[in-house]
């Protein structure tokens, strides 16, 4: 029988520093045992407990998509004991993983509909998984329009930069990237990035010199912006009709995004949020992560806004 507390060994096969502050890193993990890999079947939105013997565990969203075979990605911000130790890890090191844990974004419900993805900061991880999943050739047909709105404090803090630039260009999706405050390179869209060596790619559309401010014409087909996510959202959101919105980001972003979606006509049943609570067991036993009578680790982390409205506002 499976012991849900014992981690499976995984090897770090790559480490990518995502941001300028160098406190967000993506870890590429490969299972040491094939059987473990087979058992680890997940969908976007789920998370896992990463374990380092002697330091402990921490819950981290799965950033890779189930359609990406042979590895898992986790993007981790350095915060406390375990994440700090993880940041010191080197390629080749073996760590532990427990999971997949929690529920998923409502993939089945999203099929046949437009999908609006709203992310902020490093919480973009499981949304990346979702985007990858939708963009996968064999899945793409199951979903209608895909709109991505992603924001960070400044250009240096955007994660998955080379993919962002790729998505900007990709047909069949609209990508809006915004930063609270741009730097001198944000217009015209050059960006120092360890993952994205110069020359930086040109913007999606409207020619190389389009200024990416949120005020102005012709912004409806993607682009780069300066301003907060909710503000951009107000400008560029697709019609609520037939659209399911997924949100994951810092509490403050969520707080201001929800009323805007509601004003735009999104019903609470069509908005899904991924939440964070302090966790330990990840399997609904240690009693730590509840919001009202729901355990975020087991009944979440993804909740329909409609459901959240029925739960106490304590998160």
């Amino acid at each position: 029988m499976n012991n849900p507390y014992v981690p499976m060994p995984v090897r770090i096969s790559d480490i990518i520093t995502e941001n300028e502050a160098r406190d967000i890193k993506t870890f590429k993990l490969i299972f040491e045992n094939k059987e473990d890999e087979k058992k680890f079947s997940f969908l976007p939105g789920q998370f896992a407990e990463l374990s380092i013997l002697g330091f402990g565990e921490c819950p981290i969203g799965i950033a890779s998509s189930p359609t990406e075979d042979g590895f898992l990605l986790f993007t981790v911000k350095r915060a406390g004991v375990v994440t700090t130790r993880l940041h010191r890890a080197e390629i080749g090191e073996t760590i532990g993983i427990r999971g997949p844990l929690g529920n998923t974004y409502p993939i089945q419900d999203m099929e046949g509909h437009n999908v609006l993805i709203i992310g902020g900061g490093f919480a973009f991880t499981t949304l990346r998984s979702t985007i990858k999943y939708i963009l996968e050739k064999r899945n793409r047909g199951s979903f209608k329009d895909l709109t991505v709105i992603y924001g960070a404090r400044n250009p240096g803090e955007l994660i998955y930069k080379d993919e962002l630039w790729q998505w900007e260009k990709q047909s069949g999706m609209k990508t809006y990237i915004t930063v609270d405050k741009g730097d001198k390179n944000w217009n015209p869209l050059t960006l120092p990035s360890p993952r994205c060596p110069p020359p930086y790619p040109p913007p999606t559309s409207g020619g190389g010199q389009r200024r990416g401010y949120y005020v102005g014409e012709g912004l409806k087909e993607g682009g780069r912006y300066e301003g907060f996510v909710p503000t951009i959202l107000k400008e560029v959101a697709p019609s609520p009709k037939d659209t399911i919105a997924l949100i994951c980001g810092p509490p403050i972003m969520i707080k201001f995004t929800l009323p805007i979606l509601t004003n735009l006509g999104f019903v609470p049943e069509s908005i899904f949020l991924s939440l964070e609570m302090r966790m330990k067991c990840g399997i609904g036993k240690c009693g730590r992560c509840n919001i009202g009578h729901k355990y975020v680790c087991k009944d979440g982390p993804v909740f329909a806004y409609a459901e959240l409205q029925r739960l106490p506002n304590e998160y």
Partner: protein
């Protein structure tokens, strides 16, 4: 389930023999006179059992869900997990927990929902649970702090027990509750006689008196509804005298919150789980510094809500059995019965 629960009688003078017969197959634990019934300890002779105790200080949960439990050992140098042997229970001798109060027995049936249910199963708990029979003792003389009948338990509640004992004049009335209970007393069958009508009447009378000594303070069903008001004004006041010490949760038989941490000496380490409590300020503190329950107000609310509102919704049971431990040991006399009354009175 057992088709027919049996009512049996055992003379008190035969108890010693009964105990010896059972201890041939089982290790027996009970409230012992030697430690002032602080907790359930190993009993070697029948006269060590404290029959007249009110309730052990430490609840029965300790036995299945100890305060500190090693999940597994590891070696940091080799970077290797050394599996524990929880998967197999072949090493375990079968245990009997003898003289359990009905409230504690019921609390175990709640913990079963948390740890034993296959969602996923907690092997550490399950393993002990599987190898243990619970023999409870009906309360004929409930303490003034007991309020079991207010929360759906009672001095003769059978839930969670395999066998229940009633102490009659000069003899024990024994009721087998589960098939496991039947098996448990097999070896002592020859000491047992079927209960007569008289015996049953005496038992019924006895429990009537015990029941009448317990006041029903509130109706837990009603309470759950009442508590749906998350922002009720009483939450602003109730917590003020609370010290946040967590005694009420550590001693509570149904509280099951835990922490998971690593301990290392040189390269030898172990991952352990230890009791934790929603009454502690760090319980929900995020690494970012954000705390969804920043003050004792929210924590007090969590404790009450979890027991009387959330758990009923999640597990279908009020996670309080009315044992009174939190009432007795709270250093500021935060009496949960009073809290309930206050909540019920609020409109």
């Amino acid at each position: 389930m057992l088709k027919e629960k049996r009512n049996l009688m055992l003379y008190k003078q035969d108890f010693e023999k009964f105990f010896r017969l059972l201890s041939e197959t089982f290790t027996i634990f009970g409230p012992s006179k030697t430690d002032g019934s602080r907790s359930f300890t190993k009993i070697d002779a029948s006269d060590e059992i404290a029959f007249d105790y009110e309730n052990t200080k430490m609840s029965l949960k300790e036995f299945f869900f100890p305060q500190t439990e090693t999940l597994f050992f590891f070696d940091t140098e080799k970077n290797e997990v050394k599996q524990t042997d929880v998967e197999t229970n072949k090493h375990d001798k079968q245990n009997i927990l003898f003289g359990v109060r009905p409230c504690d027995a019921m609390s175990i049936s709640f913990l079963d929902k948390v740890f034993n249910a296959n969602n996923p199963q907690d092997l550490y708990y399950t393993r002990r649970r599987k190898s243990t029979r619970i023999v409870s003792f009906a309360c004929t003389n409930p303490a003034s702090t007991c309020f079991c009948t207010s929360v759906g338990c009672g001095p003769d509640s059978e839930t969670g027990a395999d066998i229940i004992f009633f102490e009659l004049n000069g003899r024990y009335f024994i009721k087998t509750v589960t098939p496991e209970g039947e098996k448990t007393i097999k070896s002592a069958e020859k000491l047992l006689n079927p209960a007569t009508k008289n015996d049953i009447e005496e038992k019924v009378h006895l429990m009537k008196t015990a029941n009448s000594n317990l006041k029903k303070i509130f109706d837990s069903g009603n309470l759950q509804k009442k508590l749906d008001n998350f922002n009720a004004p009483y939450w602003g006041k109730l917590h003020r005298k609370c010290l946040g010490c967590g005694i009420c949760t550590y001693l509570c038989p149904t509280c099951h919150c835990f922490d998971i941490t690593d301990e290392v000496i040189k390269s030898n380490g172990r991952r352990i789980r230890t009791w934790d409590s929603c009454m502690f300020s760090l319980f929900t503190l995020h690494a970012s510094g954000h705390n969804p329950r920043p003050t004792q107000k929210e924590r007090m609310r969590q404790r009450i809500m979890h027991k009387f509102n959330y758990a009923p919704k999640y597990y279908g049971k009020t996670f309080c059995v009315g044992c009174g431990r939190c009432v007795i040991y709270c250093p500021v006399n935060m009496d949960i019965r009073d809290v309930m009354k206050e909540i019920m009175e609020e409109r």
